[in-house]
């Protein structure tokens, strides 16, 4: 009997050990503090898990206060200029997502108190996709999207 119990005990410690490892390496815990580069979010394979890892939630309200400036047709997917402008009060973070990329989350911009709701950059797109801009204001996420047709992919295709 004693040996049986020991077996069960060992199994139990092994299982909790694995979970503890996952938590400590940041696989399970959503990111709580800003300014830390979120490996889980940038390696996530779909939009909702990327947002969950980044913001701790993936429920978005679509908003007409976000405008995305990007070309309708991008001839070269390696360089797609994207500008996001938002007039939402208290916007603290803007993320740019290309929903058909292998890892959709492209960039996150954390805005300081005096920073306007505007960022402009250039991104790579593997194929025709929606460019989604997600804006965090308070505890809520707002989004807007624009389709960009890509004729030559920019991710090694």
């Amino acid at each position: 009997m004693t040996s049986m119990k020991r077996r069960i005990f060992l199994k139990g410690t092994l299982a909790t050990g694995a979970v503890g490892m996952a938590v400590s390496t940041g696989l399970l815990t959503p990111r709580t503090s800003f300014a830390a580069w979120s490996k889980a979010a940038f390696e996530a394979k779909d939009v909702s898990s990327a947002l969950s890892s980044l913001y701790g939630a993936s429920d978005m309200t679509s908003s007409d206060k976000i405008s995305i400036k990007a070309p309708d047709i991008a001839e070269n997917g390696a360089v797609v200029p994207v500008s996001v402008t938002t007039s939402i009060d208290g916007a603290s973070s803007i993320s740019i997502i290309a929903d058909q990329n292998a890892t959709p989350l492209t960039a996150e911009f954390i805005l300081g108190p005096g920073t306007e709701g505007y960022v402009s950059t250039r991104i790579k797109m593997g194929k025709t996709a929606n460019v989604i801009a997600v804006v965090k204001a308070g505890d809520k996420l707002y989004s807007s999207k624009k389709e960009v047709k890509v004729t030559i992919g920019g991710c090694g295709g």
């Binding site: 800003f34 580069w37 940038f42 911009f109 954390i110 920073t115 991104i123 797109m125």
Partner: protein, 103 residues
Amino acid sequence: MASIKMRANIADGVTTIKALISHPMDTGLVKDKKTGEVIPAHYIQEVVCKHKGNTVLTANWGPAVSKNPYLSFKFSGAAAGDTVSLSWVDNKGEKDSSDVTIK
């Protein structure tokens, strides 16, 4: 290593920063055409812009930001003659920073 080209212009109290960074931004998905070996991922993960010790913008980037990244944004609360600094760190721990005076 001067990898950052940056400009800061002020108009009506709003400072516009435009920056270009020289960086390969390798995704880790592309194969070298000559050797057939995968080029390892090498991309900027974090860009921080500061004005008088306050962080104006933190950009967290994945590998899908284009090669030689361009970044532009606007903020208020600065004056002409102030210094703005921009720094970046990539996934290999390489980094660079640059200061520019607002005009």
